[in-house]
Amino acid sequence: MAKTPKPEELSKIDYKLPEKGWMDTPVEFKEGMYCHGARPQYLETVDFPNPRQWSSKKDEDWKLPENWKEIVLNGMKERLEKYRSFRLFMDICVRCGACADKCQFFLGTGDPKNMPVLRAELIRSVYKRYFTASGKMLGKLAGGRELTLDVLKEWWYYFYQCSECRRCSVFCPYGIDQAEITMIGREILNLLGLNTDWIAGPVANSYMRGNHLGLEPHTIKSNFDFMAEDIEEVTGIKVEPTFNRKGAEILFVAPSGDFFGDPGTYTCMGYLMLFHELGLDYTWSTYASEGGNFGSFTSMEMGKRLNYKIYAEAKRLGVKWILGGECGHMWRVVNQYMDTWNGPADFLEVPVSPITGTRFENAKSTKMVHIAEFTADLIKHGKLKLDPSRNDHLKVTFHDSCNTARGMGILDEPRYILKNVLNHFYEMPEETIREKTFCCGSGSGLNAAENMELRLRGGFPRANAVKYVHQKYGVNMLTNICAIDRAALPTLMNYWVPGVDVAGVHELVANALVMKGEKERTQDLRLEPLPEKVGAENV
């Protein structure tokens, strides 16, 4: 594995343009900036083409089918006909450059091919050459270029240096969604068996066992028992979650990272404590045991296949509606694709909170409510007894996760919750939050280990904004509502802003939650001592 340079070195970013034009500057693969190729077993599991052992290094033989070029061009043709958005995005860019410096991967690498406009041009140039009259006739003069093996490898390198975060699309006067271009680019690469091992693994696991990690039902149960033990130690209360329970009112779906890795497990303990306190009639599922969907980082079809189980399980269990946890890309899938992919979910009801009676009209079509909406509504109606002073040891900021912020507009709910469960909240600079949030640098399945330099560079703008509030206000806790964030940000903070820890919002909710019959709390959910009491309980 490539050795990661020190922060002093990595932060010296060279924005100098290459000597020749971009078409004449061949791609160079830098160690630490790309992922391993998908192993054959994973592709075989989901019947994907061209499973084989291969190395994704540029100079190695990628073992492509002989007619790979034909496959790519046919694949492009099919998608140009199928997705109006794709053709539109290929045609309408005027190269105004508004997006160029908005991408954290460009800001962190200085590589012009990470400017969204140029990343799109990598595939647009092939579109022009093979699918437009001017490009067919005039070639390079009309912005077209031949599809060569080098071009294909360039696609691989740069479509896996985009986290599909859509920050650039916020600034595009035409609203071109670069994430969709990357998605189609990856989809075409997958026709040749060109996926990363880190994405293909979770896809195969999720397909076979219901979740990215491949946790089997008894493993899930054992992890929950373990978390329940810790909750009992902190609160004296025994939570008893149920699994696959028919007739429950609500099915709860969360990212599997939340019941496997820290600090996700603390978020999960937060869900468990909140639902217990409410006496919510809900169930977990060991089948629909994943909110995330690495299939959506692979192809639309694979996203749909993995997403299927959520409605299928809701139907099998006979629940009324679905509640979803703190996951990022799950919500892009749920909000934008689920009901057309696998709906209509006409066997479910429009979600109504059993505690407040609020009818979630916004979830009328998907029947799935985001937990931040659910909890914000509880607080708004005064249904939770909260003691924010239990979070007084924390100075907190909030990182908007790309998918929930730009993919569904969850901007105010998490902030409303945080401000009610803690006393010290500080925003990062305006141009780095809400719709304009910077990506953690590891979204869309880029959170592997071998591409660590890419992740640290892509996360640099986010880390910079955290550093600002860390230095100015002493912020020591970076909150978020995404499992990839919880997995990726601790590494990013350790590297760029040591002294800042990472937590999901519901961990801090549960810290503050005053539960009926609890013992006096002396520890937070991490089993760390609570700050000394100063004020009275804030109800």
Partner: protein, 110 residues
């Protein structure tokens, strides 16, 4: 990828984790450990053996929290800490000890 050991070829992923779990035995473990710069002592084996037992039952490496708590139960409080595990496996118990134990690394949002 892979490596040769005692005249046999072992298939691994690009980070050196064994692909076929049945390929594992103590000698192979010692060999992988050596390449990681680790001399296997009894203390190292305690961790590796626990990981393998856990994997046999649960088909995945344990959460670090579980590893720590179980180590504490089995071998006493001084062995149930992150610091102790990092002392044995400087590159991290999750990655390095699992590699030596012949287990695949967990993937997804972790």
């Amino acid at each position: 990828m892979g490596f040769e050991f005692n005249g046999k070829t072992y298939e691994t992923d690009d980070d050196g984790y064994l692909i076929n779990l049945d390929d594992w035995n103590q000698d192979v473990a010692n060999f992988i450990a050596q390449n990681e710069g680790i001399e296997m002592t009894e203390a190292h084996w305690e961790v590796v053996n626990f990981l393998r037992d856990y994997y046999a039952e649960y088909k995945i490496a344990p959460m670090i929290k579980i590893l720590i708590k179980e180590m504490k139960k089995m071998f006493g409080p001084e062995k149930g800490s992150n610091a102790y595990l990092y002392q044995l496996y400087p590159a991290g118990p999750a990655l390095q000890a699992c590699k030596i134990a012949g287990l695949p690394k967990p993937t997804g949002c972790v």
